[in-house]
């Protein structure tokens, strides 16, 4: 497999052996319609102009690449740079994708928007763009996540969207996706489904990657400007994998940059209680795509465990599976405890409270920075800010707010 081959997916939606379109027949037409629309619009100048205008004026892009001085001193090896997706409107990278997809929905004349959400960031980002266009919006969220991300639930409601709490299965992100797919099958004629990560059936992994690639594109020019070379490594957390994919994708062709995805190790990968399919899963089919998947020895999808709602998912985007097998990207995992420690450390060292998801990427610096010398430049993708996690962390620390 050649790592400079970035013309993927193929026309059937496969990245190597991963990806595809595994959905009930009722959705095939909707996926084809979406693919045709996207292929038509993606190189259309008007469309691109609108997309970048919205990113600039509504989201506040480009997001800065910021030198983390005290964190760099703390490790004493390479320079650490932070890609500040936490500064985006609504507080995470998720808005990049929803800005793009809502334009597709509008072009397709869809009146009703649905989405799934784990941490609530994608729910907020979707409700935000739907409000902006005055479209009816429904957000599916596992009941466990409704509890641990209650702040975002309220934000979604304030934005005029309806939150549907999902009790089935493990009552987390995976089940929210199931329910969103069921809604879509039922209301397919007038409904646009904004998937929130590089997961799901083709063409979603491609579309979400492309819209999020604005992050990696900015990083290329910012790296040149700030340290006059390509970075030695980019580190990003991986749930479904959209913030990582958006940062990685434009760099696939630059072999000098290590691409490192950090999965949720929960109680430790060795305990089986985690959400790290690339570290401890086997290829399988879930939510429309073939990809690494946490499953038991009879082919059932295994329950996951992570302190972070946005990473608490047994699957992963198919392009990451391809990047793993091809060796172009590396995938590691850090535990809940390590992520929580990083959450506190980064807050105190940098004055930035990261999302618990993002804290996983930071936690891996403990290991990674030992591999670099003073002349190297390491980028951490700060996928989101941690306001939404204050209650969770306070609870764990035994503090009543």
């Amino acid at each position: 497999m050649k790592s400079d081959n970035i013309n993927l997916p193929d026309k059937n939606g496969f990245f190597g052996e991963y990806g595809g379109k595994f959905v009930p027949e009722t959705l095939m037409y909707a996926l084809e319609e979406l693919e045709t629309t996207y292929e038509k619009l993606k190189n259309n100048n008007e469309f691109k102009k609108q997309f970048y205008k919205d990113l600039s004026e509504f989201v506040g892009r480009p997001s800065p690449l910021y030198f983390a001085e005290r964190l760099t001193k703390h490790y004493g090896t390479g320079s650490i740079w932070l890609k500040r997706e936490d500064l985006n409107h609504t507080g995470a990278h998720k808005i990049n994708n929803t800005i793009g997809q809502i334009l597709l929905a509008k072009y397709m004349g869809k009146k009703r928007i649905i989405a799934e959400t784990g941490a609530g960031q994608h729910g907020v980002a979707t409700a935000t763009v739907a409000a902006r266009l005055g479209l009816e919006c429904h957000i599916y969220m596992g009941s466990e996540d409704v509890q641990r991300q209650s702040l975002n639930v309220y934000r979604i409601k304030l934005l005029g969207a309806q939150v549907h709490s999902v009790d089935s299965g493990s009552a987390t992100l995976k089940d929210a996706l199931n329910e969103a797919l069921r809604d879509w099958v039922t209301n397919v004629d007038d409904t646009y489904y904004i998937i929130g990560s590089v997961t799901g059936p083709h063409p979603y992994p491609m579309i979400v990657r492309d819209f999020n690639s604005v992050v990696g594109e900015e990083l290329i020019s910012q790296s040149k400007e700030l340290f006059n070379s390509m970075p030695d490594a980019i580190v990003a957390c991986v749930g479904g994998g959209s913030n990582a994919m958006g940062a990685f994708y434009p760099f696939i062709k630059f072999n000098e940059t290590r691409l490192i995805g950090v999965e949720a190790g929960g109680e430790g990968v060795e305990t089986g209680e985690h959400a790290a399919p690339l570290n401890d899963g086997k290829p399988g089919v879930l939510h429309g795509a073939l990809s690494y998947l946490m499953q038991d020895d009879s082919g059932q999808v295994k329950g996951t465990k992570s302190v972070s709602a946005g990473l608490d998912y047994p699957g992963v985007g198919p392009e990451h599976s391809w990047l793993k097998d091809s060796g172009r990207a590396e995938y590691v995992a850090v535990s809940d405890d390590a992520a929580l420690k990083a959450f506190h450390d980064v807050s105190e060292l940098e004055g930035i409270i990261p999302a618990l998801e993002t804290a996983h990427a930071f936690a891996y610096l403990d290991i990674l920075m030992k591999e670099f010398d003073k002349n190297s430049n390491i980028i951490v993708n700060v996928s989101g800010r941690g306001d939404k996690d204050i209650n969770t962390v306070a609870n764990i620390d035994g503090i009543k707010i």
Binding site: V23, P24, M28, R182, V285
Partner: protein
């Protein structure tokens, strides 16, 4: 000859409509499923569709989802379903058995399908693959098991043709936009689409999803070669599983059978 093909041909020769009943293997337990299967056939069911439980059954409504969950709590696997079918065959070697489930289960347990020990299973229906593909395209192949494809109200004409040609056993026409157990049947649309399918398919076309009352069954059987009943049965199984009283199902099936005769 394959039991499914055989049964459908016999029905056709007698100008009768097929009655297919769905239940989830291991709900409430494997022993009861076996008894229920016998009872269904006894009451007039021609073909049994065995739901293979999956953790993430995206095409199912709440009633069947809960049945999958109950079966999974009993640790039902594809392996135990083959063992169950084996037992069933000791008493009935005629009724076609169709497995209905999700792709991951079948590719993960590929050898079970390929072995199909003693030929107990006749057909497999995978809910989450596009209609023009079948298990063989995913590296799972057994020439003695036929693969049923689904066509839905949103399937475009050019694809209806290729799917209809690809399906063996029968074509499963999904009667509505939605999950199992929904209730937004549009008879006009159904009749038009089934007519279109029948132009291209060499096998019968059966209608399923959302058929509840004997009246629904009667209406839809007039536009198809048979009907598939799922959620209503599964609900009655749920309601009867405490007392193990399933006589209502017998009455219900008898009424449906009458309605489509």
């Amino acid at each position: 000859m394959n039991r499914l093909t055989n049964t459908l041909e016999n029905l056709k020769n007698k100008s009768e409509k097929a009655l297919v009943a769905y239940l989830v293997a291991g709900d409430p337990d494997i022993e009861t499923t076996l008894e229920l299967m016998m009872m269904l056939v006894d009451s007039g069911v021609d073909i049994i569709e065995i739901g293979v439980p999956f953790t993430d059954p995206i095409a199912e409504g709440p009633i069947i989802q809960k049945a999958h969950d109950r079966a999974l709590k009993n640790n039902v696997t594809l392996k135990s379903i083959f063992e169950m079918a084996q037992k069933y065959r000791e008493n009935d070697n005629k009724t076609p058995l169709v497995l209905m489930g999700y792709l991951n289960t079948f590719i993960f347990n590929k050898t079970l399908i390929e072995d199909n020990k003693n030929n107990v299973i006749d057909s497999v229906l995978v809910v989450d693959i596009p209609g023009e593909l079948n298990l063989r395209d995913y590296g799972v192949y057994n020439p003695n098991i036929n693969t049923i494809s689904l066509i839905s109200p949103t399937t475009k004409k050019d694809r209806i043709k290729s799917i209809a040609k690809n399906s063996s056993g029968f074509v499963y026409y999904v009667t509505l936009r939605g999950v199992t157990g929904a209730s937004n049947l549009d008879v006009n649309e159904i009749s038009n689409n089934v007519e279109e399918i029948k132009k291209h398919a060499s096998v019968p076309t059966l209608a399923g999803f959302g058929i509840k009352s004997p009246e629904d069954a009667k209406l839809l059987s007039q536009h198809s070669d048979g009907v598939i009943i799922g959620s209503s049965i599964v609900q009655m199984i749920e309601e009867g599983s405490q007392s193990k009283e399933f006589d209502r199902i017998r009455t219900y099936i008898t009424d449906i059978k009458k309605a489509i005769s």
